[in-house]
Amino acid sequence: MLSTQNFRFTKVGQYGIYLAFLILCVVLAFSTPRFFTVSNLLIIGTQVSINALLAFGVTFVIITGGIDLSLGSMVAVTGVVAATFAHPDTYPLAVPLLAGIGSGLLFGAFNGLVITKSKVPPFIVTLGTMTIGRGLALIISKGRPVSNLSDTFNFIGGGNVFGIPFPIIILIVAFIVCTVILNKTVLGRYMYAVGGNESAARASGIRVGNVKMWVYTICGILSAMGGILLTARITTGQPNAGAGFELDAIAAAIIGGTSTSGGTGTMTGTLIGALLIGVISNSLDLLNVTSYYQQVVMGVIIIGAVVLDGFGKKD
C-alpha cells in the first residue's frame, strides 16, 4: 500500500511541472474567456520568445554546472550593435543580424575563455561581464536609444508569416536546434558529463575546457538572438534593455527541472518553464491583478514548482 503511494507521488513529481502548467491553463481557460483564444495564445508565444531564447542558452550553461548572469547585458549589447547597422537604406538586413549575432558570440566566448582559463567561478566572472556589458552598451550607443530602424529589420520582431508572429517561428526553430544539440550530438552528451562529474569527465578524456567554451558561446549567440528580437520588437536598440532578464531566464530553466548543481535538465522542461512564466504574467494582466500581487504570485510559483519537482527526485 505504502509503496504504491510512493510510486505515484514520484510520478507526479517527475511530471509535476507539466501537470502544473496544464492545470493552470485549464483554470485560466475557465476563469477568463479571453485566455484560450488563438490571438491571445499567439501573443503569449511572442511575449515568451525572448525569455525562452535566453533560457535555452542558460540551460546549456547550468547543465554543465555553470551559471551566466550576463544574459541581460548581452541582450543590451547585441541589440544596440544590431540597431546601429539597421537604419533604413544603409546596409542589407544580413549586416545588422550578423553584427548582432557576432557580438553575442564574442561576448559569450569571452565569458567561456575567462572561466576556463582563470578558474574563477562562473558566478563571479559573469557578474563582472554583466557590468562590463552594460557599460559597453552605453558606450556603443552613447547612452541614448538607437532608433529609426528599417522596416525589414523591424519585421523580425513584429512581422507575421502565414499569420504566425515571426518571433514564434524563431522560438520554434531555436527550440528544435537546441534539443538536437543537447540530445543528439556528442557536445550535448559531454555537457551532461561535465556537469554530472567534472573530474570524471576529464579523466574520461573529455576536453572540459572546450565544452565550456562552446556552452558559453552558444549562450552568447542565443542571447544575441534575444537581443535582436527585442530590438526589432520595440524598434529601438536600448542600452538599458534586458536588465534582470537573466533572472527570468534562470527561473525558467529551474522551473523546468534543470538542477543548479549540474548534470540534469531538458529543453522541453525549460520551454514549459518559460511558458509558465509568460502565461502567468499574461493572465494576471488579463484578470487585471495589480502588479504588487503579480510579483508575489510569480515568486510562489517558482518555489512551488521546484518543491514539486523535488518530490520526484528525492529517491
Binding site: 509503496s3 510512493n6 510510486f7 543528439k184 550530438t185 556528442v186 557536445l187 552528451r189 559531454y190 551532461y192 558529463a193 554530472g196 562529474n197 573530474s199 570524471a200 569527465a201 576529464r202 579523466a203 574520461s204 578524456g205 573529455i206 576536453r207 548534470g263 540534469t264
Partner: protein
C-alpha cells in the same frame, strides 16, 4: 543463559515489497566484539539503521537491557546507550573537538549557571572532553577545531562522543576504511579497552584479517536472511566466505596462463616533488605488474601522473619504445593508456548518466557521425560490454548511481576498455566490492592479460597482489624499494620493503 545486553528476535523489514530483512535474530553479549558480516546488499545497514532507531521494523522485537526498544527514535536509543560510528564520519569541521563531542547536549553540560541563562560554557565541556580523551589514551586537545584532525583522530573523537554518552553498545561501520595501519592498531587497542570495561561492539567490515583479529563472535547475513552465528575460533577464511556467498570458493585467484609479449610501457626516473622520486619499471603485453605499498607510499600518485591527471616534475614515459609527453587524460587515452581510479565516485563515473552514456564516454569518436551521435553503434558496443563484463542492470538506460558498487566498477572498466587501450592501470579494482563480484573482476583481469593487455594493478590487499601479479613493484614513502618476481615474492618480503 549468557548475559545478553541486546537481543533481537525475528526482525523483518520490507521496502516496496522487497524484503530487506527477513526474520533476523541476533544476540549481543556484554563486553564482546561481535562482527556482522555479509556481502553488499546483505541487509547489514538496514539492520543497523533499525537498531539506532532510524528505521522502524515491520515486525519483530528488540530487547535492550531487558526492556523492549519499541518505537524509539535516534535520540532515544542514544540516551539508552546505543551509539554508532558511521563510515562517513559525521562531524562539524568548524567546531572544536569538545564542541563536537557535546553537540546536541549543550543544555545538559555546557551551559553556565549565571544571571544570563543560556550562555555556553566551553571550559566545562573542554574539561570533560579532556577527561574522556585521556581515559581513551588519545592525545588530542579538546579545544582545537575538528578540521585540523586526521580521519583516524576524528574517529577517536566519535568514539569519545559515544563514551561521553555512556554508550553500552557501539556500532562501528567500516571503521578502518580510511585510516593507516598504525592507526588501525590504535583503534584495536581502544576497542580492547572498551571491551574490558564491559562495552559491547558491533563491528562491520569487509576486511577478513581484521575480523579474525578483533572479533569474538561472527554473525553472517545473506540476502536479508540470518545465516548463522559462530565464535571466531570456529571459523577460518574459507569457511567464513562460504557462509557469506553460500558456496565454497575453491580458488579466489584464477590461474593465469597469459604469454608475456613485447614491452608496452616503460617509465624511467619518474619524479614529483613531495610525492615520489626515481620510479622506473616496465610493463609488457599480457603482463600484470602489481604496485604494492602502504597508504601514502605514492602508488596512486604515480598512476595519476602516468595517466596525465597530475603533472610530474621529471622522468620519461615510453610507449612501445617511443617517448611520449602526457599532460592530460586525453593524451594518455590517445597513447593507449587507460585508468580505472580508486576514487570511483570522484573520477570514475557520472552518477546521473545511464550505463550506456557512461560506458561509451571515452570512445565517442567511434560513435560519431559528424557532430551527431550514432546511437546504433553506441548501443551495440554497450550491449557487448554488458554481456562481456556481466554487468547486472535493468537495461542500458539505468542510471549508474542506482547500481551496486561492483557493477559501478564494471561500468568504469567497460568505459576504459572501449577506449581500446594497450595498457590499463587498475587502482584498487576491488575496493568496496563484495566477494562474489571480486572473483569476477579477477577473472576479467586474467582474461584481459591473456588477450595481450598490459596491466598495472594497485592494491592494498597483499593476497590480491600476490595472487594476481606477474611482477611486483614495492614502494615506500615515494621510493621504489623492491621489484620482485612472482616466484620470490611473499607477504613478509613485501611488507619488509614497504616499511623501509
Amino acid at each position: 543463559m549468557p548475559d545478553f545486553i541486546l537481543t533481537v528476535n525475528q526482525l523483518s523489514k520490507s521496502f516496496s515489497g522487497i524484503k530487506a530483512l527477513d526474520n533476523i535474530s541476533f544476540n549481543l553479549r556484554r563486553g564482546e566484539v561481535h562482527a556482522l558480516m555479509g556481502e553488499n546488499g546483505a541487509g547489514k545497514s538496514t539492520f543497523m539503521k533499525i537498531l539506532i532507531g532510524l528505521l522502524t521494523p515491520d515486525s519483530g522485537e528488540i530487547v535492550f537491557e531487558g526492556k523492549n526498544l519499541h518505537d524509539s527514535n535516534v535520540g532515544d536509543t542514544l540516551k539508552k546507550g546505543i551509539s554508532m560510528i558511521h563510515q562517513e564520519i559525521l562531524i562539524v569541521p568548524e567546531l572544536t573537538v569538545a564542541q563536537n563531542i557535546f553537540l546536541g547536549r549543550e543544555k545538559a553540560f555546557g551551559v553556565k549557571r549565571g544571571w544570563i541563562p543560556g550562555l555556553l560554557d566551553d571550559s566545562a565541556i573542554n574539561e570533560k572532553s579532556a577527561q574522556i580523551l585521556q581515559q581513551l589514551g588519545v592525545d588530542i586537545s579538546p579545544d582545537i577545531k575538528m578540521k585540523h584532525l586526521s580521519v583516524a583522530q576524528m574517529q577517536m573523537v566519535e568514539i569519545a562522543k559515544a563514551i561521553s554518552n555512556e554508550a553500552k553498545v557501539i556500532i562501528m561501520d567500516e571503521p578502518t576504511s580510511a585510516i593507516s595501519d598504525k592507526e588501525v592498531e590504535m583503534l584495536f587497542k581502544m576497542i580492547r579497552d572498551l571491551k574490558s570495561k564491559g562495552v559491547s561492539i558491533i563491528y562491520i567490515s569487509h576486511k577478513m584479517d581484521e575480523i579474525f583479529r578483533i572479533s569474538d563472535t561472527i554473525t553472517v547475513l545473506r540476502d536479508g536472511k540470518y545465516i548463522g552465528t559462530k565464535s571466531a575460533e570456529e571459523l577460518d577464511h574459507n569457511s567464513l566466505i562460504a557462509m557469506m556467498v553460500g558456496r565454497e570458493i575453491g580458488q579466489m585467484f584464477p590461474e593465469g596462463n597469459a604469454s608475456i609479449g613485447e614491452e608496452v610501457l616503460s617509465v624511467e626516473n619518474l619524479g614529483k616533488k613531495g610525492k615520489f622520486a626515481n620510479i622506473s619499471f616496465k610493463v609488457h603485453a599480457g603482463e600484470i605488474v602489481g604496485l604494492a605499498g602502504l597508504m601514502g607510499a605514492g602508488r596512486t600518485e604515480i598512476a595519476r601522473a602516468i595517466f596525465g591527471l597530475d603533472k610530474m616534475d621529471e622522468g620519461m614515459i615510453r610507449i612501445s619504445g617511443e617517448t611520449v609527453q602526457i599532460d592530460s587524460p586525453l593524451k594518455a587515452l590517445k597513447n593507449g593508456i587507460g585508468y580505472v581510479s580508486e576514487d570511483r565516485k570522484g573520477l570514475g563515473f557520472i552518477p546521473r548518466m545511464s550505463v550506456k552514456n557512461n560506458v561509451t564516454l571515452s570512445s565517442m569518436k567511434r560513435h560519431q557521425k559528424g557532430i551527431f551521435i550514432n546511437t546504433k553503434s553506441e548501443e551495440a558496443d554497450t550491449a557487448q560490454m554488458i554481456a562481456d563484463l556481466r554487468i547486472k542492470t535493468s537495461g542500458m538506460d539505468q542510471k549508474v548511481s542506482t547500481l551496486s558498487g561492483g557493477n559501478q566498477q564494471k561500468v568504469v572498466i567497460g568505459k576504459v576498455l572501449l577506449a581500446a587501450p594497450q595498457l590499463i592501470i587498475l587502482d584498487e579494482p576491488t575496493r568496496g566490492v563484495d566477494v562474489g563480484a571480486k572473483f569476477e573482476i579477477y577473472k576479467l583481469i586474467r582474461n584481459l592479460a591473456e588477450n595481450g593487455m598490459a596491466i598495472i594493478m594497485i592494491s592494498s590487499e597483499l593476497p590480491e597482489i600476490l595472487g594476481m601479479s606477474d611482477r611486483i613493484v614495492v614502494l615506500s614513502k615515494g621510493r621504489q624499494t623492491a621489484t620482485l618476481s612472482r616466484q620470490e615474492a611473499t607477504q613478509e618480503l613485501i611488507m619488509r620493503n614497504a616499511v623501509v
